[in-house]
């Protein structure tokens, strides 16, 4: 499903966090939202999953303004994996956490039916979380938790996935596993990522936020120019497509421009 974010302006505690931020994701696209801390990435995501109402601008999912939809209708289109889980819901099993994804599909009187069970089972399988099904969520490792939360999002049967820093605190293998999993879903995705290398691998397009505004958007190599990396991220680096087809970021010997070159780099 298509996502359009148009001219978003959001002020929090009298501080303008976003001003005229626009972006677009075509159906099936994986769009990476990158930018330094405090650039407004999480705020933009909140507007997309209908948690923050912008004072100006509009977020459209599948052509409809998310604020014209009910909370439940919006959540049937958009699922999010966020960082507020903390230690996670104590006492819920993995299956019960995944089943939370069925919340927007039911009113107050709704009971779980065959469709719900099927969606939960399918999501567990898709994320390789089947062996964890009976475990207490809080007993899982970081990587396992993120896989289960992604399964919860899939059980929601969304047409747009919103992901906020879901590779944080994961070991390197767990990161790549999670990326492969996201790719395999085929769902339109908007992902905030801190690690530019991972962003370059995962995403079709990148959108760069800087001080509340979109300063660049497009294919990875078009966006991550040395100039942008220096101005927005404050590092001396280049992004290149290597002979194996993978785009990698190479950071300079003196990435901060301090005039100090480490011995190992110089020698």
């Amino acid at each position: 499903m298509k996502l359009t974010v148009d001219q978003l302006r959001i002020t929090l505690d009298r501080r303008p966090v976003l001003h005229s931020a626009s972006l677009e994701a075509r159906p099936g696209d994986i769009v990476g939202l990158v930018g330094p801390n405090g650039s407004g990435k999480s705020t933009l995501l909140r507007a997309v999953y209908r948690s923050l109402r912008p004072e100006h601008g509009v977020v459209r999912v599948g052509g409809d303004d998310v604020w014209s939809l009910s909370p439940r209708a919006a959540a049937r289109r958009t699922a999010a994996v966020l960082q507020d889980a903390g230690a996670g819901p104590a006492g819920l099993s993995v299956t019960e956490v995944v089943a939370l994804g069925r919340t927007p599909h039911h009113g107050l009187l709704g009971r779980d039916g065959a469709a719900d069970h099927a969606a939960v089972e399918e999501a567990l399988d898709a994320c390789g979380a089947r062996p964890l099904a009976g475990r207490d969520f809080t007993s899982l490792s970081g990587g396992e938790r993120q896989r289960v939360l992604l399964a919860r999002a899939l059980a929601q049967q969304p047409e747009l996935l919103v992901l906020d820093e879901i590779t944080n605190h994961l070991d390197i293998r767990a990161r790549f596993e999670l990326l492969a999993l996201i790719r395999s879903t085929g769902i339109t995705t908007l992902a905030v990522l801190h690690d530019l290398d991972l962003a370059a691998r995962l995403c079709d397009h990148l959108v760069v936020l800087h001080q509340g505004a979109v300063v660049a958007a497009g294919p990875v190599l078009d966006v991550l120019t040395p100039g942008l990396l220096r101005e927005v991220f404050g590092v001396a680096a280049t992004a290149d497509r290597h002979t194996d087809g993978v785009i990698r970021i190479t950071y300079g010997a003196d990435p901060l421009g301090l005039g100090v070159v480490p011995e190992t780099a110089a020698g």
Partner: protein
Amino acid sequence: MVLSALLPAVMMVAVGIGAVDVPPADVWRIVLHHVTGGGAPGDPALDQIVWNFRVPRVVLAALVGAGLAVSGVVLQAVVANPLADPYVIGVSSGASLGAVLVITLAGGALGGLGVSSAAFLGAIAAVVLVFLLGRRRGRLAPTRLVLSGVAVGYVFLAATSYLQLRATPTELRQVVFWLLGSVAGAQWEQLPVVTTVVVAVTALLSLFGRRLNALLAGDESATALGVDVNRLRAVLLLLAALLTGTVIAVAGGIGFVGLMIPHLVRLTSGADHRRLLPRAALVGAIYLVVVDLLSRTVNSPNELPIGILTALFGAPFFLWLLRRNNSLDAA
């Protein structure tokens, strides 16, 4: 299910035991006679003891236990704090002030207002105050709610303490008994209202099981799951306040049940609210019936306030359960 069969059984036993022991067969016959109108009325003295004193008391104990446990489950989820109990939003301090006002200043009735009504009004006034103070820009943040509840509680407590200082020894004894809680004053006339509130509010709250589960995932995640978190929190708070206010108005400030029964049930059967709410209601009911039975038998013919015994018997069992459970180590 075992629990739903256990509750009536425990209630029948509790009705039979006391200063005069009544055999289960007689209890059954008397209750049946009053409920269906059939059978022989039997010994009028026994009939009086069973039907006029013990049955309303046992029924009230069950209702109060269920109400406190359900309210505790809901509030622990609403304010996202495992230390929350039904009194966290100021209900008990408000109710205490109302009750103590009437006991000390009006000798039991203020402009026709009895202790129960005054306690209920005090409870609702406190909750409304906490609700208004806990709200900021239309949002009810859990931490702000809890802290507002604590602050309002202290203000009400100060007023209550001052009134206690001015009270006569007789009034003071009455105040202390009220504060510790009791179902000894149970009367048939109270039961219709209390039953209606406890049953209706518990049933309503049970409908929110799925959304309460979503709340466990955090406010932002719950929002992304299609839950209107602010509205949900407001609705649940008001329902829990109504439930707690009603219960505390008739039984005083019985502690422990609303804090511990939710944890006890969670430790044994998980945190899914669709299971947790009905089970907590049954366990809370059974627990308070048993503890009330103890409160009137261990030191017979004197009665101990139920509030003393709820913690004395419950806490060691709870600690034992806590040590057995592994899932708490992970978090």
